[in-house]
Structures are given as structure tokens and as C-alpha cells.
């Protein structure tokens, strides 16, 4: 059954060295606070899964926590490259990192298959694409009715998934709304799921019946962390801090500057700092 926990306990109780972990969020609702907590706790040898790695994986890779990354778009969305991830792949700094690369369609279908309890996903993909030649986890199956050859990828099944969401009710049901991305699938595909939320409300009785609600029994732990997705955003609460994404490009370009920034902004901080970071980005009620 779901537990409401401080973020430090939720992370310590659900993430382990060597785990396969997904911190998911498709531009929206990126679980930055949970990722920063994982960085502070210093986990090692992680396999990081995410469609759009972005800043938090750049940070975890730069801190040497990852042995492998599984992704489909390794960029700073709308800005450019991820410079810490580049340094690891191109130069093995601070350590070499294994790469498993897919397309968005491949990753989305693989999460879907994981949520659906299937061993693999089948779709029309990777035709003529170079990835099929360099990723041994891209295979084919043949439609037994038409003979069409389709792509197959293994289902994604993280040990633990972290997501950020708008709110939980007191029973521990969780609402995700706006650009919902791959969050539901990432939670349902995982053995354990930890959710940070902006707030807890008494009940969801007044919600529209067709919204994306994750029932409490699909979640391991919930932590209340207002602002927890900054510099990403939370639909209905605060807007995206585009300036921070632009700044990251400079911070991550230099190994020492990166370390200094991490020390000052992650290592020496706590989850409680996130509320202040979104104060000027909040949407007027």
C-alpha cells in the first residue's frame, strides 16, 4: 500500500545501487527534486531509462552515477546538446557509459508493453533507420496474416519509476494532467513507483471520470514537494523556466563549472528549496 513519506525516505527506500530506473516526464512534469535527492544519496551503477533524458540525467551522468543509459532523444529540449552526457560518451568522462538508443516510437511502445505485461512491443518502425543495425534490442516479427515484417523491442520494466504529478488525494490516488506523456505507462511498467506531488487534497470526488488517475495501489510512495519539477513545469501550478534551460547549456559545458553548480545547487540543498525556485513562475490563481 502507498505511503506518504519525506522525499529522502521515499528515495532511500525504493532506489538501490545497480537499479534500472526511470525518472520520466516528457518536457512537462520532470521529477527534478527526486533526481536531485538521488544525487545527494549518491547511488551508483544505475541504468537510466528515459525517452528525453534532459538536464537531470545530464547531472546524474556528470556525477558518475550511471553505467548505462536507455533513451530516444539525448538533448536539452529546444536548446541543443547535453554536454555532460556527450563528455561521457565521447571521452569516457567521468566514466564510460553504455548506450542503448531507440526512437521515440520504440521507447513509447516499449513502455506501453511494460505496462501491458507483455515481453515485447510490436510496431511499424525503424525502417531504413541506422539504429536497427547498432542496437541488438531491435528485432522483427512477421504478421501471421499479411506477412508484413514489423519491428519488435523488449518491454521496458524499470525496478523503480519516479514521476512528478499535480496532486494526490488522502488515500494516495494520484492525478496527472496536461501533457501526460509516458507517465502512466512508466509507473505501471515498474516494480515500484515513487511520485512527488505539488499538493494533497481531501478527495478526487469532483474530478472528471476520464482523467489520468493512478490508483493508490499502483504506487509505492508519495512525497509532497511543491515546485518539484522545476525548471520543468507543472500544468496549472507554474510555467516552464526556459531561462534555466538556456543557462544549463553554459553550466554543463565546463567540467569545473558543472561541479561547482552541483555542489551549490544540489548537494548542499534539500527538496524544500524547490518551492522557492518556482515562486516567480507561479500561475496567477
Amino acid at each position: 500500500m502507498v505511503k506518504f513519506l519525506p522525499l529522502s525516505e521515499a528515495v532511500a527506500g525504493n532506489l538501490n545501487d545497480g537499479d534500472t530506473v526511470a525518472f520520466e516526464g516528457f518536457t512537462h512534469l520532470i521529477p527534478t527534486a527526486a533526481a536531485h535527492e538521488a544525487i545527494r544519496q549518491g547511488f551508483e551503477e544505475l541504468t537510466l531509462i528515459r525517452m528525453t533524458p534532459d538536464l537531470v540525467y545530464d547531472q546524474m551522468i556528470g556525477m558518475g552515477m550511471a553505467r548505462k543509459i536507455v533513451f530516444s532523444y539525448l538533448g536539452n529540449p529546444g536548446v541543443g546538446l547535453l554536454r555532460r552526457a556527450r563528455d561521457a560518451i565521447e571521452n569516457g568522462f567521468p566514466r564510460p557509459i553504455e548506450v542503448e538508443e531507440h526512437s521515440h516510437a520504440g521507447m513509447a511502445n516499449a513502455y506501453e508493453a511494460g505496462a501491458a505485461g507483455l515481453p515485447c512491443a510490436v510496431f511499424r518502425g525503424y525502417r531504413g533507420a541506422g539504429l536497427a543495425a547498432v542496437n541488438p534490442n531491435i528485432k522483427t516479427v512477421t504478421c501471421p496474416f499479411t506477412g508484413e515484417v514489423l519491428a519488435a523491442v523488449p518491454a521496458i520494466r524499470p525496478d523503480v519509476t519516479f514521476i512528478h504529478a499535480q496532486k494526490a488525494d488522502r488515500k494516495g490516488n494520484v492525478l496527472v494532467e496536461g501533457i501526460i506523456g509516458i507517465q502512466k505507462e512508466a509507473v505501471l511498467a515498474a516494480k515500484r513507483a515513487v511520485v512527488t506531488v505539488e499538493e494533497v487534497v481531501d478527495s478526487f470526488d469532483e474530478l472528471h471520470p476520464n482523467l489520468t488517475v493512478l490508483p493508490s495501489w499502483t504506487i509505492s510512495a508519495i512525497s509532497v514537494v511543491p515546485g518539484g519539477s522545476h525548471p520543468s513545469y507543472t500544468h496549472g501550478y507554474y510555467i516552464r523556466d526556459n531561462a534555466a534551460y538556456l543557462e544549463w547549456d553554459e553550466i554543463a559545458a565546463d567540467r569545473e563549472k558543472f561541479q561547482g553548480w552541483m555542489q551549490a545547487n544540489v548537494i548542499e540543498r534539500t527538496a524544500a528549496d524547490f518551492a522557492g525556485r518556482v515562486e516567480h513562475l507561479r500561475i496567477a490563481a
Binding site: T27, H104, A108, V134, G181, H230, N242, R277
Partner: protein
């Protein structure tokens, strides 16, 4: 054509030429790195009912400012509906509902094959680029592909380092031979010219030069030997309305993005 009053930059010409290629009933998939400026200029001028789809799940979106990322809140706020990412790739892209997939490129070859993955070899790249995102399947599931990029010898190359997304392969009927039934790249719009594939060889051929651009300039910024069509045209210069629409959009965008955050912590 480009007198001082109606002056415009090559990039503005590129965006506006691309916007003109879009029709009112198009369903356009705007992938990572794609010129959403062109799509939104089309929507704000001659194609008010065009359907713009971003891979973040937003369908029929009509942003007032250009998004920095493909998942900005503005896209959701103005969309007809916002669906999950698996649904986006299964029902909407793979389902064959996209008329135009709009792609950018880090490297492009003459057959419309695109690389946004690596410079150098894949296992030990010289430069690790972001990768394909949605592009591999946008390139094969959209009915047609439009490509837009600024010309450079580094970008328009004889041989790309990695096939992120498949265009016409080695040309001719290569798509068909791989079982790909969609048309592939049918239009390339650069800052200097408009290109279309040869009906048989599928090699991109210049069909229209932007105002004031010479054949020599096109060749000087392209890594392969450029073919020009016999009936070469000149791209009509941007109209005052087109320019104003684009510039207003960019000004609104700049103001909106500058307003967010001090970036104290990422």
C-alpha cells in the same frame, strides 16, 4: 525584390517559403528541431485550419508564442486534445493520419536521408548529437516529408555519418524495396532555394531560387554537386503580411521566454 523597405533575411525567406507549402487541410507533425515557426506562420496567414501536432501529445494546437520545447504548456493550453505519448505514436503517427512530417537535419544527403545522431562512427562518435527522437518513424509514417535547414557544406553532405531517418536511401525505388509505402521527402526548403526530388532518381533538385540568390551561392554552400531544374523559378519574396506575421510571432516568443525565471537552479 529585396529593396530596403521589404528587406528580409535568408532565414525569414526560408521560414516563409516553408509556410507557403502547407495547406489549410494539412495535418502536420512538428518533430524535434523542426521549424514550428513555418507551421505557425501558415496557420496565422493562409491556412487558419491547419492541424498542428507536436509529439508531446498535443493535437490541433494553436500557440500564441513559439514553444521552446515540443512540450511547452502553451501547446496543451491551446490544443483540441492532448493525448499520451504512446497514443500519439500509435494512433496518430503510425495510424497514417499525418499528411506532412516536418523535419530538420544536422546532416542531409541529396536523397533526403537525415542524420541527427552522431558525427563520426556510432560506437565512438566525434560528436554525440541528440539523436532521432520521433524522426525515424515520422520519416516513414507521414504521407510526405518536408525538410528545412540552412545551407552549409557541413550540413549538406555527400554521405551522412548515420541514417537517423530514411529519405530515399540510395534513390529510385529504395523506399518501396524496404516496404515503406509513404512518399518520403517531397520538398526541401533552405535559406537559399526550394528543392524537389527528381521523379525517377529522387535526387533533390533546385526548382526555385530565393530572390537575389545565384546558382553559384547554392553550390558553394552544398557538399554535393547540385542539379538545377530546367524551368528554374524565383521564389516570390515575402509579402508584408508574411513578414509581419513572422516577426510579430518571434517578438511575442522572445518576450514570453525572457520573462521566465532567473535560472537560479536547473
Amino acid at each position: 525584390m529585396s529593396d530596403s523597405e521589404s528587406g528580409f533575411t535568408p532565414n525569414e525567406m526560408m521560414t516563409i517559403a516553408a509556410s507557403r507549402a502547407l495547406k489549410n487541410d494539412d495535418v502536420c507533425f512538428v518533430g524535434i528541431g523542426a521549424p514550428s515557426a513555418a507551421c505557425n506562420v501558415a496557420r496565422l496567414t493562409h491556412a487558419p485550419d491547419i492541424t498542428l501536432i507536436y509529439e508531446s501529445g498535443t493535437i490541433g494546437t494553436a500557440p500564441q508564442v513559439l514553444p521552446l520545447s515540443i512540450g511547452d504548456g502553451e501547446l496543451c493550453d491551446t490544443a483540441v486534445t492532448t493525448v499520451s505519448v504512446p497514443e500519439m505514436f500509435r494512433y496518430w503517427l503510425q495510424g497514417g493520419r499525418i499528411s506532412i512530417g516536418f523535419l530538420g537535419a544536422a546532416q542531409l544527403d541529396k536523397f533526403g536521408n537525415i542524420n541527427t545522431t552522431v558525427i563520426g562512427g556510432y560506437p565512438h562518435p566525434k560528436t554525440r548529437l541528440p539523436g532521432g527522437g520521433g524522426a525515424p518513424e515520422i520519416a516513414t509514417s507521414s504521407k510526405e516529408i518536408y525538410i528545412t535547414m540552412a545551407q552549409s557544406k557541413r550540413g549538406m553532405v555527400e554521405t551522412i555519418d548515420f541514417f537517423t531517418s530514411f529519405g530515399h536511401g540510395e534513390g529510385g525505388d529504395h523506399r518501396k524495396r524496404l516496404g515503406i509505402e509513404t512518399a518520403g521527402p517531397t520538398l526541401l526548403i533552405t535559406d537559399l532555394a526550394i528543392w524537389k526530388p527528381d521523379p525517377v532518381t529522387k535526387e533533390f533538385t533546385v526548382v526555385s531560387l530565393h530572390p537575389g540568390v545565384s546558382r553559384a551561392e547554392v553550390q558553394a554552400t552544398c557538399g554535393w554537386t547540385v542539379k538545377f531544374t530546367d524551368a528554374l523559378e524565383e521564389t516570390p519574396a515575402p509579402t508584408a503580411l508574411e513578414l509581419k506575421t513572422l516577426r510579430d510571432l518571434q517578438a511575442r516568443t522572445k518576450a514570453a521566454h525572457a520573462g521566465t525565471g532567473k535560472g537560479k537552479a536547473a
